[in-house]
Amino acid sequence: MEIAVVGPLEFTLGFQLAGVKNLYNPSSDEELSELLKSLLNQSEIGVVVVDNKDLNKLSDRLRLQLTESVTPTVLGIGTEEDNTLRESIKSALGVDLWK
């Protein structure tokens, strides 16, 4: 299985340098959500790396779908911490264990 990277050109460039070939540079928000939806259904993709800023632009429904998907696992990275997992832990267990 392969790693896919989705984001603006400057975000994907570094991953390209490390050898990742599945790079996607969507130009608009609609294109981004269509692309992520299609990546969810591809069996040869194991991990999808997305910029956190892009993840925040998506609709709540798609974001939930992405965070719930296991293969491929969608991982948002950015310079700030993201709290999606923390929120889901809070809602499932009733306690904030993220400390």
Partner: protein, 205 residues
């Protein structure tokens, strides 16, 4: 509760057996929930540190690539990126944690050596090399974090489902059956008393 149960002795025996069965199931589920929770807590602390590392590595990588593009120029960084010949791959296998199937992600070729980068020893630049190295490290961390995140998600789902089941048994199913049992017992006693009284009346005549 709708008491549509027949107040008979056989029903009572059945009910007693079912209560016993349900209670043992309830205890098992409770243990499963606690076990899952325990597993979740240990994994969560690992996950938190993995996340922190990921953010740190990403910052370093960003810095390295900005340095490389400002010194070597964006074009040479891009051409170096195109030259990379091997691609990192991940394989997803399955692992079992207390009956929950979780993915185990392993990476291959995550770290490219200088030859694999396809630039040769003279063509490359130390800054680009450094940027590529830090991104390789980032990919390693991404793979680890992805595995842990998927595992935690699955565990979380299972914990939630088990919790619901435990609560339903504890607060709905078992109390209802106990209520039915008391109802049958009382009704049977009542019928017995009626029977004795009837016999007495019969004897007096």
């Amino acid at each position: 509760m709708a008491l549509d149960i027949k107040p008979t002795r056989s029903e009572l025996i059945n009910l007693k057996r079912r209560i016993k069965q349900t209670s043992s199931g309830y205890n098992l589920l409770k243990m499963k929930r606690d076990g899952l929770f325990h597993e979740f807590r240990t994994l969560l602390s690992e996950m938190i540190s993995a996340r922190e590392e990921l953010v740190g590595t990403y910052r370093d990588a960003l810095q390295a690539i900005s340095l490389a593009s400002s010194i070597e120029g964006g074009l040479s960084v891009k051409s170096a990126a195109i030259a990379a010949s091997k691609r990192p791959e991940v394989s997803v296998s399955k692992r079992n944690i207390m009956g929950v199937v979780v993915p185990k992600v392993d990476g291959q070729n995550l770290k490219l050596s200088t030859e694999d980068r396809g630039l040769g020893l003279i063509g490359g630049s130390p800054y680009i090399d450094e940027a590529a190295d830090s991104y390789s490290l980032l990919i390693e961390k991404v793979v680890k974090a992805a595995e842990m995140e998927a595992t935690l998600k699955r565990l979380l789902e299972e914990i939630e489902a088990t919790k619901r089941r435990v609560n339903a048994l504890e607060f709905k199913v078992i109390p209802e059956m106990k209520e039915a049992q008391t109802f049958i017992q009382l009704r049977l006693e009542e019928m017995e008393r009626e029977e004795t009284f009837r016999l007495k009346r019969f004897k007096n005549k």
